[in-house]
């Protein structure tokens, strides 16, 4: 670990000031510290934001939810309003990491977490994301867990977060506070595909702080849920996952929100699947038919070809779990 300085801030203004001065925010520290130990991250100045007043879930005017960036994963998962209104968020969080980690880790840190690509985390390997221009060891290397969607010549790593998949499905927005004031970014624009600049992972500027994630209102009743497919029963990142939310009225699907995880360089919004669902009556056949397009555009690598089929089946499974059949 490289030497660093450490300061703790307790108000937003000081935080942003420290961040603008080249400080690096640390919240739960569950992933940043790991990466510092591996010397993947070498921040010179840590700014501990865990005492900032960003730790509540509030209802928004329109009927949505605003989740403070410093809410712990466990707190959000257990929050009665979240559970009642957005089961998919609770479930995605509960299927993440471990109980110990969820008690420490924050929502802001979660969506900011970096890829689990093992070459990225091994500083002796070549990796464009860690060191632009050095090449991508994963592309021709061991890439069983890597992305099949949204990849580029430069990088094929997945975004590992689970709850980000739920946020992508629900079309959340990210609230930011920076030296120039507040702004919001649509979730789909917040996490960046690698393209030619894999080192740029989020549309966040120096010194900007995530203050909250806002989930927009949805028509009610909304049935939602998250499925995570992995080799072992717990404590593993997704091979594939799917977040699904459906609003059915008059026997017809009026609203469908679907995204997939474990397969994309960013949480993968499945608009084509949504399109096949909207206006249709729930049925086994519909789930299958909609899921067929889930992997459209996939570009599998040597070891992750299985994810193409697995993705479709994962989406189909979760459509059935959430939507049931009639």
């Amino acid at each position: 670990m490289y030497p660093f300085s450490y300061t703790r801030v307790s108000d937003l203004r000081t935080a942003v000031q420290a961040g603008s001065d080249g400080g690096r925010y640390i919240a739960g520290g569950t992933t940043l510290v790991d990466l510092m130990r591996e010397t993947v991250e070498r921040p010179g100045k840590l700014v501990d934001i865990s005492a900032l007043p960003l730790r509540e879930v509030t209802a928004t005017k329109g009927g949505g939810l605003r989740i403070g960036a410093l809410m712990r994963m466990a707190e959000v998962a257990a929050h009665p309003t979240v559970r009642a209104l957005y089961a998919v968020i609770s479930q995605a969080l509960e299927l993440s990491a471990s109980a110990q980690l969820r008690n420490m880790a924050t929502i802001g840190g979660n969506i900011m977490q970096r890829t689990r690509c093992t070459y990225f985390r091994d500083v002796t390997a070549s990796c464009n994301r860690r060191e632009p221009g050095t090449g991508c060891a994963a592309r021709e290397g061991f890439n069983r867990t890597h992305a099949i969607l949204g990849t580029s010549e430069q990088c094929v790593a997945t975004h590992p977060s689970d709850v980000a998949v739920a946020f992508a499905a629900l079309e959340a927005t990210v609230h930011l506070l920076g030296p120039a004031g507040e702004r919001t970014v649509a979730f789909s624009d917040f996490l960046l595909r690698p393209d030619n600049t894999p080192q740029r992972e989020q549309s966040i500027r120096q010194g900007e702080l995530i203050t909250a994630v806002e989930v927009p209102a949805q028509p009610r009743p909304l049935r939602s849920g998250y499925v995570k497919v992995r080799d072992r029963q717990s404590y593993e990142f997704a091979l594939t996952s799917a977040a699904v939310a459906l609003h059915v009225r008059g026997g017809v699907i009026q609203v469908a929100k679907v995204a997939a995880g474990g397969v994309g360089t960013v949480p993968w919004k499945l608009s084509a699947v949504e399109q096949r669902l909207i206006g249709q009556r729930p049925s086994e056949a519909l789930w299958t038919q909609a899921a067929e397009v889930a992997a459209d555009g996939a570009q599998p690598l040597a070891h992750n070809n299985f994810k193409v089929e697995l993705l479709k089946r994962t989406v189909e499974r979760q459509l059935r779990v959430v939507g049931g059949t009639r």
Partner: protein
């Protein structure tokens, strides 16, 4: 000598060191507080083959707190005497910092010594090493290999040619790493030319001899201390390069040095279960009698050493097969050398044989349990010897009953529970009973308590507890009145804690020692005119609760304390020994029948083990609660081997890709549901004086094939590759 009642042995005691462990007071290697100790951190090679062309240590040396950076350029020449004692395989072992050659990825190329761990770690990351890299060869696949061992009986080829049913299969088994919780660690301190090592090891004498060999000093000059080991599964059976590095660093800086490997480094220099390719051909008649088996296992080893493990025994003795041929090959690669991992050899071979037997059963429409019973031998066909004990039939009978095997619909893909296809499978487990020379010392103090010791190791099975149990009964004391000590080369010698030989060997030595001590006390009493036991035939005296008494006349007797006090003795002591005959007239193995039920998600290909039952024929069970820990641990390990564990090498540059516990998957609690162990009552006195056959290795053997066979039964898909992952079942 009158037999002592067995009160402690066979009772389900909790670990005598349990409190120390759960309160954090048990000192593992790196926990020992050695005044003045500084820290060493190893720098690993980032290439797998080639030469070091330059090392820039200036940035590292400039770090505050750094005492020295050791590389091949400034390290003193080390002696590296030949050493047949420490489980070094044939070949030339890695010599730390003696030249510029890199033999495998992650090989130590430098060590940084600093006053704090943080300084040493940071400085280590600043050491710049340049290499001339050559293309390494690290992939076993398709390589012909060098013949290592052959075996033949009968004419396997002819028997295969004329067999009514034939199978021809190729199995692929992934490399596995031991991954104990405690990483390897060593503290080294020199006092003049005497070296003390606090080490994580399963064999203190092995570490002692290797350290002496490396530094060219007399063995007596090295003392190794290892009271607690946080799991090992075999990785502690050799003395790996970091031990020499710690001692070298301590000598160079003139202070004690602590060195712990990181989790990542646990994948580089400390051994693993080798990857296998295993061709197996099997011939049988329509009644399911196997007439021939031809085995061609190939496993990986390093270019500098030829690893050996017991790959061939099972194929020779497990079933009543008249015609057997075996060719074992190794492929030498630019990798570190493997090392025995739980159930070494047997676990790998049993996967292949037991899956093939299941295929045969399916093909012939014979129940898999019945098929195995039809191939039960009456003696060991490889030696012609009778079995000391072999109760495999009973294992299957009890297991089938308790597991509910009769309710099984033999048709694959016939049972469903929601999205899950349910299947059950069975396999035989077997491991050889090893014994070795062991010594012990016991001392009975005037206050009536005893201390017994032997230079054994306790890497988790509970040696402290089981030895205490044996000693307590032999001395006629309560368990709390006996303390067993281990893990120090100053103690009487013991064999390695591997190959399931420790209970049989050290247990028998403890038994002998404590018998002698008890006899001594009895002799003293019956010869003492002031003793109520004066003149009694010593053979009629037993000791119960610390009181010597006439067996049939319990009122007549006295306590150890009274006896010693009256004779003005501070203590009595005895040395004892177990020295097994070189050649036993018996074929000695422990056996098990392993039953597994799995669910396989019908669409997603996920496999989850729903329940498992193993029935063991392992001789006498000294400590049932510890035995259960072993059994459950073995089944958990087997679930890992079957479904998860896979060390991935990037063959382009020999890099271990998943050198961490997030990417090298082992089972977690949520994967472990209903695991149950049953032990057949009884003992095997032909094996050793205390009647045990060994359990720690056996428990892993047969688990992976039972699961694989259950997966077939659930899905109709036969997988010949480990681990079995979703992609094989989609």
């Amino acid at each position: 000598m009158s037999p002592q009642p067995q009160k402690a042995v066979g009772s389900p005691l909790s670990r005598v060191d349990g409190r120390l462990k759960v309160t954090g007071k048990a000192a593992y290697a790196v926990d020992h507080d050695i005044p003045g100790a500084v820290h060493a951190v190893v720098v690993d090679s980032s290439i797998a083959l080639g030469r070091i062309t330059g090392i820039d240590t200036s940035a590292a040396e400039a770090c505050p707190g750094v005492l020295k950076v050791i590389t091949h350029r400034n390290a003193p020449r080390l002696v590296y005497r030949d050493n047949p004692v420490s489980n070094n395989p044939r070949g030339r072992r890695l010599r730390v910092f003696q030249d510029d050659q890199v033999l495998f990825f992650g090989q130590p190329v430098a060590a940084v010594v600093a006053t704090t761990l943080e300084a040493a770690q940071h400085a280590a990351s600043l050491v710049e090493v340049s290499y001339e890299a050559r293309q390494p060869t690290t992939d076993l696949a398709g390589r012909p290999g060098n013949p290592l061992l052959n075996y033949a009986r009968g004419d396997a080829e002819a028997a295969l040619a004329s067999a009514e049913v034939r199978l021809d299969r190729e199995f692929h088994l992934a490399r596995n790493h031991h991954n104990p919780i405690e990483p390897h660690a060593t503290i080294a301190r020199w006092d003049g030319d005497k070296l003390t090592l606090w080490d994580k090891t399963q064999y203190v004498i092995g570490t002692q001899n290797e350290a002496a060999a490396v530094f060219g000093i007399p063995v007596e000059n090295v003392r190794v201390i290892s009271p607690f080991v946080g799991g090992a599964f075999g990785t502690g059976l050799r003395t790996w390069p970091h031990v020499a590095i710690a001692a070298l660093a301590a000598r160079e800086v003139g202070r004690p040095v602590k060195l712990a490997l990181s989790r990542r480094q646990m994948y580089f220099t400390v051994g693993y279960r080798p990857r296998y390719e295993y061709k197996l051909r099997l011939g049988a008649d329509r009644q399911g009698r196997v007439t021939a088996m031809a085995h061609e296992p190939t496993y990986e080893t390093s270019n500098h050493e030829t690893f050996w493990e017991a790959t061939l025994f099972l194929g020779q003795m497990l079933y009543n097969v008249p015609n057997v041929s075996q060719t074992l090959r190794t492929v030498s690669l630019d990798v570190n050398t493997p090392l025995w991992m739980r159930g070494p050899g047997f676990s790998s071979t049993s996967f292949c044989i037991e899956v093939a037997m299941d295929e045969l059963a399916h093909e012939l429409g014979i129940d898999p349990v019945e098929l195995r019973l039809r191939n039960e031998p009456t003696r060991d066909l490889s030696t012609g010897q009778p079995f000391s004990t072999r109760r495999l039939r009973e294992c299957f009978r009890v297991g089938a009953r308790e597991f509910g095997w009769d309710r099984r619909n033999p048709k694959p893909r016939s049972t469903r529970d929601g999205d899950w296809l349910i299947g059950t499978g069975v396999a035989t487990g077997c491991y050889d009973t090893n014994r070795a020379r062991a010594e012990a010392h016991a001392r009975l103090d005037a206050n009536g308590t005893a201390v017994v010791q032997s230079a054994a190791s306790d890497a988790g099975p509970g040696t402290y507890t089981s030895m205490t149990q044996v000693a307590a009964d032999a001395l006629g004391l309560a368990v709390r009145e006996v303390e067993f000590r281990l893990g120090d080369t100053l103690m009487p010698p013991a064999p390695p804690q591997g190959a399931s030989q420790l209970m049989a060997s050290v247990g028998s030595a403890v038994q002998d020692t404590c018998d002698k001590l008890r006899q001594q006390a009895i002799s003293l009493a019956v010869g003492d005119r002031r003793s109520p036991l004066h003149g009694v035939n010593p053979d009629d005296v037993v000791v119960i609760g610390g009181r010597l008494q006439v067996k049939d006349q319990p009122a007549r007797g006295e306590t150890y304390r009274q006896l010693l006090a009256r004779n003005n003795l501070t203590h009595l002591e005895a040395n004892g020994l177990y020295n097994p005959e070189a050649e036993s007239p018996y074929s000695m193995y422990a056996y098990s029948a392993v039953f597994a039920e799995v669910g396989v998600d019908v669409n997603l290909g996920l496999v989850r083990v729903r329940r498992m039952l193993s029935v063991y024929d392992a001789g006498r069970i000294i400590s049932p609660k510890l035995a259960d820990s072993q059994a459950v641990g073995g089944m958990v390990g087997g679930i890992g081997m079957a479904l998860l564990e896979h060390t991935v090498t990037d063959h382009r540059d020999g890099r271990i890709v998943n050198a961490n516990l997030a990417d090298y998957l082992v089972p977690v609690n949520a994967d472990i549901r209903d695991l149950r162990a049953i032990y057949l009552d009884g003992d095997d006195r032909k094996a050793d004086p205390i009647g045990v056959k060994g359990l720690g290795e056996l428990v892993k053997v047969g688990v992976a094939p039972a699961i694989a066979n259950a997966v077939f039964h659930a899905t109709g898909r036969r997988v010949h590759e480990l681990p079995i992952t979703a992609e094989a079942l989609l």
